[in-house]
């Protein structure tokens, strides 16, 4: 491709993208005004949502985990937002331009965006907030979310000052962000709750206590009204929100309910409108009795088992790793054990990731008998047979589901290769400590949900320096491919680089991909505006209660 077309392509993509975004925006507005006559709405617009566990914090820079993010999506708004079906739409940024080399983003902020106390949301707020999240003093779990922004890593390491971060307010409503490499998923990243702005005056006045009732000033569609720990969090509609005219709900309750069976009971008793999860054991009953309410959707997450590559028997024994992976019949696991529509995993990156097509094992479609035969030969070559059998340990964190899967995998290994497996269930923090120390662990369970809709969110996990690479996979060629992809402005070239990396990863067998996650919720039929989407993000501002 000529250098000229190299420059034009990303630009064309951006234009197309902006068109796409503005198009979907108009469409959703038409949809709302066309369908929501007052008669169609229930008089009381109060939504009650199950939310897993108690959120750690409502400070978007200091929390970790899904429960916190769910609420923060209602309390704050980043530069980019999402439509009900997960498409990127303008948030505080009304429009943006991207430089030809893909490194410089200029965001035009909407002038009607306000904080819940009436102050204007400005570019300076974003500068302050992004500096806050990467500042090592803040101690944020998600400081690395902003890794594509220039100098983030040096600031986290403490070698550069926070002012060196690649973000600058040109004026009140123009924000310039400089990246260290072209990052096609950068706009998607900006929907992540850790990139949300915080209200500087409140943070400076209240410190750690700013994210509490009475102190919290947000810029989302809702404001924090009540926080009764371990009981509920109540949000009320934010009259100062720029798009308040399209908000239908007046109140949103979030209930922390860790136990999914309890959540289901409260759902059945009519006390909750949307559940955070579904107890797997109740699946047959739910399919029969609450089929309409059941929302199962593909979700960008991979459930896998990892080998500890730093210790025998898996260190330097690729044949063994391959044999063990090949004899696992994923279809039996997903169809007979899980039974909730999960897809068997033969690749590292799940399907339906933006701008990507996953690479799969070539033995994916082989009949099981052929796979087993092939694996037996590999197993023998790896140095194991009936006279010298293999004994391995699988570790998983305590959970009925993980246990079932580990047992079935152990039985497949036993049946096909005569492997003796010892199962260890460990309490979560013990499990993590063992997995990360790489001392006793041989095979471990793991799962990964994408932070943003891009193959890189999965690819980077197996980089030799990545904090979640608990297999200890260390392939300089793989790392080099990732680095190259991060510098590549051309979307299709970048895709090919990431595909090459995925192929390399699969061929090295550091992990056993088992299945791709599904999000599971129960949603009352009278909830309007709810759409399944692959990020499993459901903003309350899109939802409403139909007359029922």
């Amino acid at each position: 491709m000529s250098p000229l077309s190299k420059q034009i392509l990303p630009l064309a993509f951006t234009c197309f993208y902006t068109l796409l975004i503005s198009g979907s925006c108009v469409a959703s507005e038409i949809f709302i005004s066309a369908t929501l006559t007052p008669a169609a709405l229930a008089p009381e617009q109060t939504l009650r949502r199950g939310n897993g566990s108690e959120p750690q914090s409502l400070d978007p820079h200091k929390s970790e985990g899904v429960p916190s993010s769910n609420i923060q999506r209602d309390l704050y708004e980043g530069l980019i937002s999402e439509s009900p079906d997960g498409e990127l739409v303008p948030g505080v940024a009304q429009s943006w331009t991207i430089s030809k080399n893909g490194l410089r983003y200029l965001f035009m902020l909407r002038k009607d965006a306000k904080w819940s106390n009436g102050d204007a949301v400005t570019a300076y707020d974003f500068v302050y907030s992004w500096r806050r999240i990467v500042d090592p003093k803040t101690g944020s779990y998600y400081a690395q979310t902003l890794a594509p922004v220039l100098n983030t890593e040096a600031i986290i390491k403490g070698t550069k000052k926070v002012t060196a971060l690649g973000i600058r307010a040109i004026n009140k409503y123009q924000l310039e962000v400089t990246l260290k490499g072209p990052t096609p998923y950068f706009l998607g990243l900006l929907t992540h709750s850790s990139t949300y702005p915080v209200h500087r005056a409140s943070v400076e006045k209240y410190g750690e206590r700013f994210a509490r009732v009475g102190n919290l000033v947000g810029n989302g569609a809702f404001v924090l009204k009540q926080w009764s720990i371990q009981s509920h969090i109540l949000l009320e509609r934010n009259k100062n929100y720029w798009d308040d005219k399209n908000t239908r709900l007046d109140k949103v309750y979030y209930y922390p309910i860790e136990d999914q069976s309890s959540e289901l009971k409260r759902y059945r008793a009519g006390e909750i409108d949307i559940t955070e999860g579904v107890p797997i054991s109740q699946m047959p009953w739910l399919r029969k009795n609450l089929k309409q309410d059941l929302h199962l959707a593909s979700y960008l997450g991979t459930y896998y088992f990892g080998y500890n590559l730093t210790k025998p028997p898996f260190k330097d024994n690729k044949l063994l790793r391959q044999a063990l992976s090949m004899v696992i019949d994923r279809r039996v696991l997903t169809e007979k054990i899980l039974k909730t529509g999960e897809l068997p995993a033969y690749s590292w990156v799940p399907p339906n990731v933006a701008n990507y097509k996953q690479i799969e094992y070539e033995w994916k479609d082989w009949p099981m008998s052929r796979r087993v035969k092939y694996a037996k030969a590999l197993f023998k070559k790896a140095g194991y047979n009936q006279a010298t059998p293999l004994t391995v340990q699988i570790r998983y964190n305590t959970s009925e589901n993980h246990k079932k899967i580990a047992i079935v995998i152990a039985s497949m290994w036993k049946k096909n290769l005569g492997v003796k497996t010892e199962l260890y269930n460990e309490e979560w923090k013990v499990f993590l400590a063992n997995r990360k120390s790489k001392k006793d662990t041989q095979v471990f369970r793991a799962g990964w949900i994408a932070d943003y809709n891009d193959a890189f969110s999965f690819a980077e996990l197996m980089h030799s320096n990545h904090g979640v690479n608990d297999s200890g996979y260390n392939n300089p060629d793989y790392d080099a491919l990732l680095a190259k992809s991060a510098r590549e402005p051309d979307i299709s070239k970048r895709r090919r680089l990431l595909q090459r990396a995925e192929k390399m990863l699969l061929d090295d067998y550091p992990v056993i991909p088992v299945y791709f996650y599904r999000s599971k919720h129960l949603v009352k039929p009278y909830i309007g505006g709810y759409k399944d989407n692959s990020m499993d993000h459901h903003y309350s501002k899109h939802l409403y209660i139909k007359a029922h």
Binding site: Q230, S262, A269, E271, G467
Partner: protein
């Protein structure tokens, strides 16, 4: 009396110190720390966080800091619930646990004592066998079975009470948790008071009262009630402490924001300060409660009171 009270309180100090010492080191012995997540923190940020909470120093130094803080009444910030201090969390959860526990206990006391005493009075009657059978069931059905059954019946099938939630302590939200907590206690108290009443009714002074022709109700309330209650009272102290501190399962099932949940969540999250705060708080609470029961016992039984005064 006051001297006795103060002496007992002072005697509790070493006990509390040992509780703090043991639990402080035990929780740190558990693998994993408060900042260990699936997603690793950047090493530099981890260092900062450790320094902020003194986790980078030797454990005995951390213990020193902790002792100093709690002597000033400061349980420190929660590692997990970052916007709150441990003291705030305890004061949010404890009243809820106490309200539930006390209500359940009062309910259990009335029903249990009445049923037990009536059963004793009509010993070996159908009523007696009925009460004993039901109480046996009450003791043997664990609350994690009882709670879902109650929810299924009262919330899902008949929609009388909510299936869970606290709703700022609304009356209807309290009913099912209180019943769940009270049922095993009713059973225990019925059995204890029945046994005790049978013993008391065999005493010569009761027989004398009957032979004088006094009405049964008068004899029971006037002469038999107090001595019958003695074993119930001695059971009450630990039972109340148990019901308030041990309502974890019930709080979890009904989604009640009590202190018990912090205990479990704190331990699972390695929220060191929260677990320590709850342990110390419970320790003091149980000691005070036992002391209170001893004083009550003295009031009910003149023999103990006299002995107490002599020593």
């Amino acid at each position: 009396m006051l001297e006795y009270f103060i002496r007992r309180l002072l005697g509790a100090i070493p006990t509390i110190f040992i509780i703090i010492l043991v639990s402080f080191f035990l929780i740190r012995l558990a693998p994993g720390g408060p900042f260990d997540f699936d997603r690793s923190l950047a090493p530099e940020i981890q260092v900062n966080l450790n320094a902020k909470f003194h986790l980078d120093e030797p454990v005995y130094v951390q213990f020193g800091y902790y002792l100093k803080d709690i002597l000033q009444g400061d349980f420190g910030p929660s590692f997990q619930y970052k916007n709150y201090t441990v003291t705030e969390l305890i004061w949010q959860g404890f009243p809820v646990s106490v309200q539930l526990g006390l209500s359940a206990m009062v309910l259990a006391l009335f029903i249990g004592c009445a049923a037990g005493m009536l059963a004793a009075y009509r010993q070996n009657s159908k009523f007696d066998y009925g009460v004993m059978t039901i109480s046996m069931l009450g003791i043997s059905i664990p609350n994690f079975v009882m709670a879902p059954l109650l929810i299924l019946f009262f919330s899902i099938t008949f929609s009388i009470f909510p299936a869970g939630g606290w709703n700022d302590g609304a009356f209807q939200n309290r009913i099912l948790p209180i019943i769940t907590l009270a049922l095993p206690q009713v059973a225990y108290i019925a059995r204890i008071s029945r046994g005790s009443m049978i013993d008391v009714l065999r005493n010569p002074y009761i027989r004398t009262a009957f032979s004088k022709g006094l009405p049964t109700f008068y004899i029971v309330t006037r002469h038999a009630l107090k001595p019958t209650l003695l074993p119930v009272i001695s059971y009450l102290g630990p039972a109340l402490a148990g019901i308030i501190t041990g309502s974890v399962v019930v709080e979890q099932i009904y989604g009640i924001p009590g202190l018990g949940r912090y205990f479990v969540q704190g331990a699972l999250n390695r929220d060191y300060t929260l677990v320590m705060g709850v342990v110390v708080f419970y320790g003091v609470f149980i000691i005070v409660l036992n002391l209170f029961v001893d004083l009550l016992y003295g009031w009910l039984d003149p023999q103990i009171r006299v002995q107490g005064q002599k020593t």
